[in-house]
Assembly symmetry: C2
């Protein structure tokens, strides 16, 4: 069996990669909010840390009531209990990646986990 899976550029409002790529340590979604739109609810997590990367455009996150301005290239990590909601700017869409991982699950990484 091959040790890799690949998928092409995501399009549409939301693409989920867990099943598409056979992920076992993360769920990753690729999301686009049109200008002026937002995710229609506030949410938190039970166990999972989320890491967001802004691919293009601009907008904001609101975490526990605090607004955080976001633009292309920005990264934000949110603890499971953080109450979060994402908004595109009124004058720009925002495309972003959401990486969901189990908080505290990483043990070794990079040099300590590598076989070179």
């Amino acid at each position: 069996m091959s040790n890799y899976t690949k998928t092409g550029k995501a399009d549409g409002a939301r693409t989920e990669l867990h099943d598409k790529l056979g992920l076992t340590g993360a769920e990753i979604s690729v999301n686009t909010l049109p200008a002026g739109a937002s995710v229609p609810f506030v949410h938190a997590h039970k166990e999972n840390e989320e890491i967001y990367f802004i691919i293009s455009g601009k907008g904001k996150a609101v975490v526990d009531g605090e607004a955080i301005v976001l633009s292309e290239g920005d990264w934000i990590r949110i603890a499971p209990q953080g109450k979060r909601q994402f908004f595109a700017s009124p004058d720009s869409p925002m495309s972003y990646i959401c990486i969901q991982v189990k908080a505290g699950s990483l043990t070794e990484y990079t040099a300590a986990d590598a076989i070179v």
Copy 2:
């Protein structure tokens, strides 16, 4: 204590986010290879699954000796034991994200882990 951490756009050849963002379930790096360059070694992992996203440019991955053409927007998941090396195209740089997570660590996700 705040439930979020943020960092701005990465620059340079490689930026590692684990310590910068206080990640606990992943290590994430942002990497740029100049045109014609490659990561100078083949590597595999003990426990970690890696997921790569091509931010811009083009190039290829070689996994277990097989070449996989990559361009902007592509995603690739590599199992821990896959022997991998990344190359920018001879005529284009390639910028990519590498997400390192412990294989098999995700239990619940999205709706099953959410509190709305």
